[in-house]
Symmetry: C3
Subunit: 158 residues, 3 copies
Amino acid sequence: MTQTLTLIMFSGELDKALAGFNIAIGASAVGIDTTIYFTFWGLNIIRKKGGLIKGKSIKQKLLNLMNRGGSDGLPLSRFNMFNLGPWMMKNIMKNSHMPTLRQMIALAKIQDVKFVACSSSLEMMGLKKDDLIEEVDEIAGVATYLNIASKSKINLFI
Amino acid sequence: MTQTLTLIMFSGELDKALAGFNIAIGASAVGIDTTIYFTFWGLNIIRKKGGLIKGKSIKQKLLNLMNRGGSDGLPLSRFNMFNLGPWMMKNIMKNSHMPTLRQMIALAKIQDVKFVACSSSLEMMGLKKDDLIEEVDEIAGVATYLNIASKSKINLFI
Amino acid sequence: MTQTLTLIMFSGELDKALAGFNIAIGASAVGIDTTIYFTFWGLNIIRKKGGLIKGKSIKQKLLNLMNRGGSDGLPLSRFNMFNLGPWMMKNIMKNSHMPTLRQMIALAKIQDVKFVACSSSLEMMGLKKDDLIEEVDEIAGVATYLNIASKSKINLFI
C-alpha cells in the first residue's frame, strides 16, 4: 500500500509555510502520496497576489484589506517587526541557496502534491476559486479532508 | 474497527478553536469516535465565563486575571487588535450563517465528542472541575491521552 | 510491535516546549519509542545558553542576536510581556513542584527519548552541532524524520 501524508495548513506565516512545504516536498520525493489542505490563514499561501479587495460585506472587505494574500507577503510567526523579519529570512535563505516559498510551491506541484482549499474558509473570507493560484486542485470541505486523512499514516496540523 | 480521531487543543484562540471544533464535528458526523484533550490555553475554551479570580497563589490569580476563560471571550491568533478581530470574525460568521463557538461546543456534545481536560494544566492554573463547563466528561493526565491517541488513526495538535 | 511517537518541535516557546516534553516523557514512561525532531525555532530549546553570536552572514548574526537560545530563556506564546509571563509561569510551576524545562530535558534523555536536530534549519541559522546541548543524538534532514514518522502511531507538529 502506498504511504500517505496529509497536512492541514492552518497558519499563514512564512516560517510555518516553509516547514510545511519542506515536509510535503520531502515526502513526495520519497514516493509518499501527499496532500495539503489549506484552511483559514493558510489560504493566504495560495492566494493570488494583490488584486481587488474581495468580499461581499464590509467586514469581509476589511478582513481582506488587513489580510492580503500571496506567498510573497507572508509575515513570520516571530520577529515579524514590520516585515523586517521576513525580509531577513528570505535573504538568509537566498544566501544559503534555498528555494523561495514560490519555488517550493512549484516544486511540490511537479512532484504531484495535491492542493485542496477549504470551502468554508473561502466562503467566510468572501473568496472564490479565481482568487487562488492555479496550482490548487480542488475546493472541498472537512469531510473530504477526513476521508484523505483517515487513510494517511502521517497527519499534521501546522 | 471504528475509526478514532484525537485532538490536543493546546491553543486558546478563537480561530484555532473553530478549526478544531470544525474537524471534531465533521469527524463525529461521519461516525468517527472523536476526543478533544484540552490542555494549557485550550482550557479557556471550556472554562465557565467570568466568576471569581481563581488560584491559590498570587501568581495564579494574576495569570487567571489576564487569562479570563469562556468561549465568548477568546482572542484571535492574528489581527487581534484589542478584540476588534474576534468581533469582526464573529460578525462575518453570523452573516455567513455559521454556528458560534458556543453552538459548536453544544453540537459536538450532541454528537458524542468526548471532552477531556488535562489534570496537570488545571492544577497549574489553580482551577477545579467546577470552573469548567458541564460538557467536560473527564479530567485526566497525559497517560489517558496517550492511551486514546495510540488507538487513533488521526492525531492532531492544535 | 513497539508503539512509536514522533513530535516535530517547530515552536520555540516555553509553553509549547513544556507541552511537547510532557507528552514525550509520558510516552517514553509507558514504553512508547519517542523521538523529538527539533526544527526552526524549536532549535532554541536545545541550544547552549549564551556564547558568541553565531552565523557567517550579518543577517544570520542579527537573527541569532534576537533569537538567543537556551531552554532557560524561552518566551511564552501568549502574555509574554517583556518576560514577565515566562517568569510567572516558572514561578507557578516551581510552587506546584513541577519540573523545569531543563529537568524535563534531562528526564526525557534518561527515558531514552531520541533528540534529532533538523540539518537545514541549523544551516540556515548558521549553527553547528557544538552550539547544541550534548543530549542531541543526531543531526538529520527531513528524509530521516519521514522515515521515523511513517512508523509512528502518533505524529504531532508542535
